[in-house]
């Protein structure tokens, strides 16, 4: 009650003040706080923003908005603030805040920009809420709600509630209602209203809900002997239990001053050093103090002499903390609110867990599709033809650079991607055919040597790419419609670019299957793979088949390059990052079988995400353990998940 009267009084005072300063312009208000505004630090800006917001001048909103969007400038000669608009790189047009009239054009070096940092911009946003909640522009209303969600204040509650009734846009209205409930949870004074609002959020996945609820249930473990009577105790703890170790309990007691701590090793050492008398301490000569045991003896002698605090080498913390009560206490004073929040959070956490698992699966699937896309070309050249192409990674890189070059020529991102995909295929197809003709066909009966020759090609191509495109990463930008992510809720989301890669992987699986099973080339490829001599005597030209198959595998690598470049980066080392992983994918899956490659990629993708989940702070460990797993896996299934049987297996 007293508080209400105080607030009312304060309001009156403000009104009175503003009435008194009727002829005060917004420029005067700004000038009063000129130093703080120019200094632009969140720690000192508060009064300035409040002064403008509470000035009750009609220009306040305009000033705050200009300030927030970095359009407020200060003129150097007289320190007046203006809204400035850039005309060209040297000149700016000024607008007077008070009159709204143009105030001339000035050179850039005559004015300084006020640059509020994002912390100040958030404060400006919060201050703007009262003006913007009922603004006719729906996007400003949304801004206001966003500002509340980021930095909700108690003062927002009343204007927000008042604005709900007049809201015409049903979507914004719903948003306002949700925001109102969130504010109620944090700031309302009525316990019942808070509990009701909390219970309304059962099972909600929204991050904001959890952000509002979690602070209510934060607890602190305290030494219970000095607990105040009205503390909201969650539970009583005993030292040595799972939730409170003996050491933690002891530290709490030391902190509370309930026990005097034993002197630590370094404190004892310092005490010894300060008590050296004639080359000996406590009767032990200094040269002998090179073991802990001797030092303890010397310290005990000092303690006996009363020179230092006593130290008990057999001291046991457990004996001190046993039987002492500790309590876990809510920071929230209201027990009803805390228990409602606990209940609601419990219901939420189950759904969140489920959704996190779903999100992780999506990530795994996405990674699998990237590995699959990178490996599918290799599955053809390595799996079907038995040729080890170490330059496969560089074909991926060539595809990515093709995409980059096309984007330099065609500025429209959508069109350029549509052109880039077939172009990348064409370029790498040609490169693949050239390599097959020039190098690989001479080495068909020397598989291990193809490895070396193609490795040579690989390092040459990598260096060539560096010589041509430079060493910097090049941008390959996805079209606007692939920006952003598909948000199922606040937990589950996947970016569109990853979905696109997934779809691309599926398409290539389809194309591959179609070519292999339904076309003449596929039939001939399978025949040549199984028995080249027999195939040749059936009228198939193995040379031509090999050439086309190799080209196909390389071409697909090129397309994979475009996809990988879109979601990651385009550098000359792009391919090298994927080559080992791709080999593993093919080998784990089983050579010579596209389904095997698919399974291999899926297994590696999910496995990696799974290990990452266990050890979220160390992605490197996930990769290490995955490879070790693969090594062990191959010991037990040397021919991969799907092993070819019979003659096709080749042995």
């Amino acid at each position: 009650m007293i508080r209400r009267i105080f607030v009312a009084g304060l309001l009156l005072l403000t009104v009175a003040l503003s009435a008194q300063a009727q002829d005060r312009t917004i420029q005067d208000v700004l000038q009063e706080h000129s130093d703080a505004i120019i200094k632009s630090s969140r720690k000192t800006i508060g009064p300035a923003i409040d002064a403008v917001a509470n000035s009750a001048l009609p220009e306040a909103q305009d000033v705050l908005q200009a300030w927030q969007s970095k359009d407020m400038w200060v003129r150097e000669e007289d320190g007046l603030f203006f809204k400035a608009e850039k005309l060209d790189s040297k000149t700016y047009a000024l607008t007077d805040f008070v009159t709204g009239e143009p105030a001339g054009e000035v050179a850039k070096d005559e004015i300084d920009q006020i640059k509020p940092n994002s912390g100040i911009r958030a404060m400006l946003g919060a201050a703007l809420v009262q003006f913007q909640l009922n603004d006719p522009d729906p996007s400003l209303r949304r801004d206001a709600l966003l500002a509340i969600q980021r930095d909700g204040e108690e003062s927002h509650l009343a204007p927000l509630r008042a604005s709900i009734a007049n809201e015409s846009d049903p979507e914004i209205k719903e948003l306002k209602e949700v925001t109102e409930r969130l504010l109620t949870i944090s700031f309302d004074e009525d316990e019942a209203a808070r509990v009701a609002a909390i219970e309304g959020f059962r099972g909600s996945l929204s991050l904001d809900t959890r952000a509002a609820l979690n602070p209510i249930v934060t607890t602190e473990v305290v030494y219970a002997e000095e607990l105040s009577a009205n503390a909201n105790v969650k539970r009583i703890l005993r030292a040595g239990s799972r939730d409170l170790s003996v050491d933690e309990a002891y530290d709490l007691m030391v902190e509370a001053g309930a026990v005097t701590p034993q002197p630590s090793v370094s404190e004892r050492k310092a005490a010894l050093e300060s008590n050296i008398v004639d080359g000996s301490v406590g009767g032990v000569s200094v040269e002998d103090l090179n073991t802990q045991e001797a030092r303890d003896r010397a310290y005990a002698a000092l303690a006996d002499a009363g020179l230092v605090p006593a130290f008990d080498p057999d001291f046991d913390k457990a004996s001190v903390v046993t039987g002492v009560q500790f309590a876990e206490v809510y920071s929230e004073p209201s027990a009803a609110v805390a228990s409602a929040a606990e209940e609601t959070l419990k219901s939420i956490s189950r759904t969140v867990g489920l959704n996190q698992f779903f999100d992780l699966s999506l990530d795994g699937l996405s990674l699998a599709s990237i590995y699959f896309l990178a490996a599918i070309g290799l599955a053809i050249t390595f799996g079907v033809m038995g040729v080890i192409n170490m330059a496969h990674g560089e074909f991926i890189m060539m595809g990515a650079y093709t995409g980059y070059v096309i984007q330099q020529i065609i500025p429209d991102y959508t069109v350029s991607i549509i052109v880039a995909i077939p172009m990348a295929f064409a370029v790498t197809f040609a490169a693949g055919v050239a390599m097959e003709r020039l190098i690989i066909r001479w080495l068909y009966n020397r598989p291990l040597e193809t490895l070396l020759a193609t490795f040579g090609v690989s390092i040459a191509l990598q260096q060539l790419a560096k010589n041509i495109f430079g060493t910097q990463a090049r941008p390959l930008t996805s079209p606007g419609w692939l920006d952003g992510a598909l948000q199922f809720n606040d937990v589950v989301a996947i970016s569109y670019i990853r979905i696109a890669i997934f779809v691309l992987a599926l398409i290539f699986l389809g194309i591959f299957l179609f070519i292999m099973k339904k076309t003449r080339l596929g039939l001939e490829t399978r025949a040549v793979t199984q028995n080249p001599r027999m195939a040749a005597s059936m009228g198939i030209n193995p040379d031509k088949v090999n050439m086309l198959t190799f080209g196909l595998g390389s071409g697909i690598a090129g397309i994979a390059g475009v996809a990988i470049g879109l979601y990651a980066k385009v550098t000359s080392e792009l391919g090298a990052d994927y080559i080992v992983q791709s080999f593993m994918t093919v080998v784990v899956g089983g050579v010579g079988n596209i389904w095997g490659t698919l399974l291999g990629a899926t297994m590696i993708g999910f496995l990696q995400k799974g290990i990452e989940w266990f050890n979220p702070s160390n992605t490197l460990a996930a990769q290490t353990y995955m490879i070790i797993f693969i090594i062990i896996f191959i010991q037990f299934r040397p021919k991969g998940i799907i092993a070819l049987k019979g003659r096709a297996a080749g042995d």
Partner: protein, 431 residues
């Protein structure tokens, strides 16, 4: 040249087999040779080639002004090929075969650690231009990049004070700079009252590209209602995938700000920044700095490299300051003798490109202002905060073991001096 080496070697082995011979390079030797030890191939070429070009430009400019001590400067460029042992070999080659008077080079910490024993043995002189993890002060190295207290700590303060961040995600590439920096930051944040469970740390390999899980983890940190901020020590190419994923996840800088210590103009030129506007970087230099010296430097750079699109960055400014300080020190000392130049370097001043003056301390670190910039749509940075010059601190105050250490080569003649026991722990460096 062979005859000279031969003569000197006999002399050296006859007189003192133990001491180094590089110190005998006197002013009389014309031309004065400047060694450039930057990788031109391999993974680090992406960053280091630019610095090699910067050095060539600076040498050319100095020659146009008449060289130093009446001598032409000659740049000796070698390629350590991003191969760390090769750095040591090339450094030895520069010092003993080419007999350079000074070296400018290295990017990664591990390459610097590889070179340290060689230059300390041969009493060479190295200017190291990159922000690094500190915990080092070699007699023979001048660190013109930022120490943690000149980049990481001010940026964290900015997060705490200006943005009100209460929960931190420290994301880094798994190598020594992020590891040590994050270690320092963790203990700094705990000092500032941030609880241990409010600090999330993650390390990823070099060139990491699959960021979806990590970005999702960071978003999930916001679930307990505290403002989350990301401090990124992610290196090089990996940033591109990281920022692309951030943009795709729709994380605006107002929700979860990211401050990066290894992302500059050069890295941003590899991606489209429209979705990254407002995220931050902390450096001692931004290309957008509005001063005359900077405009001049940029136009000279564009003219030298023949490409208007090329950007300038912080390590380039570090070389600019380091090189000019060295030239002034040599002029003052009237010799290129390493010990004389070192003595002349202490207290050496040179104007920054961003305004103000950089001062070389007796701990071989520069005092420079710290700048924080917000990413703009055109891939440049909008400088929103600039501190007073901060003297670089070789040994951080926020780790208990190094808080007691100081470096002072002038009076204490020690780079690792324990103030508690008042002894010099060692003259050489840890490597």
């Amino acid at each position: 040249m062979e005859v000279k080496t031969q003569f000197k070697a006999t002399l050296a082995s006859a007189l003192f087999a133990t001491t180094a011979m590089a110190s005998s390079a006197m002013a009389a030797d014309c031309p004065i040779k400047v060694g450039v030890l930057h990788s031109l191939s391999g993974t680090m070429a992406i960053s280091e080639t630019t610095l090699k070009d910067t050095m060539l430009m600076l040498v050319e400019q100095q020659n146009a002004k008449g060289g130093v001590l009446g001598c032409e400067l000659e740049a000796v460029v070698v390629d350590p090929a991003s191969d760390w042992p090769l750095f040591a070999e090339k450094a030895r080659e520069l010092l003993t075969v080419h007999e350079v008077d000074v070296m400018f080079g290295n990017w990664t910490s591990v390459s610097r650690k590889s070179v340290l024993p060689v230059i300390e043995e041969l009493n060479g002189l190295l200017f190291y231009p990159v922000q690094y993890e500190g915990e080092e002060s070699s007699k023979n190295v001048f660190y013109t990049g930022a120490a943690p207290n000149q980049q990481a700590i001010p940026a964290t303060d900015y997060f705490l004070d200006e943005l009100g961040v209460e929960k931190f995600a420290l994301l880094g590439t798994d190598y020594v700079y992020p590891r040590t920096t994050n270690n320092i930051l963790e203990s700094y944040l705990k000092d500032k009252g941030i609880a241990e469970e409010d600090i999330f740390v993650n390390y990823t390999p070099f060139g990491h590209s699959d960021w979806s899980k990590i970005v999702a983890d960071v978003v999930a940190l916001g679930a307990d209602g505290k403002k989350v901020g990301v401090i990124s020590t992610i290196n090089g190419d990996a940033n591109i995938g990281f920022y692309k994923e951030l943009a795709a996840a729709g994380i605006s800088a107002d929700d979860i700000p990211v401050v990066a210590f290894s992302v500059g103009e050069e890295e941003l030129s590899g991606l489209d920044t429209t979705n990254l506007v407002g995220h931050l970087a902390a450096w001692n230099y931004f290309m957008s700095a509005d001063t005359e010296a900077n405009a001049e430097f940029i136009s000279a750079w564009h003219e030298f490299i023949g490409d208007e699109a090329r950007v300038t960055n912080d390590p380039m400014e570090a070389h600019y300051i380091g090189f000019n300080m060295w030239v002034n020190a040599v002029t003052e000392a009237e010799t290129t003798d390493v010990d004389a130049v070192r003595a002349a370097m202490w207290g050496q001043e040179f104007p920054n490109l961003t305004g103000g003056t950089a001062v070389m301390g007796v701990n071989h670190h520069l005092a420079k202002p710290v700048l924080i910039g917000e990413i703009l749509e055109d891939g440049q940075f909008d400088i929103i905060s600039e501190t007073d010059p901060v003297p670089g601190d070789a040994w951080t105050d926020f780790l208990p073991e190094s808080a007691v250490l100081v470096s002072d080569w002038k009076d204490l003649e020690c780079g690792m001096y324990n103030t508690e026991t008042e002894t010099c722990v060692q003259i050489g460096s840890n490597y």
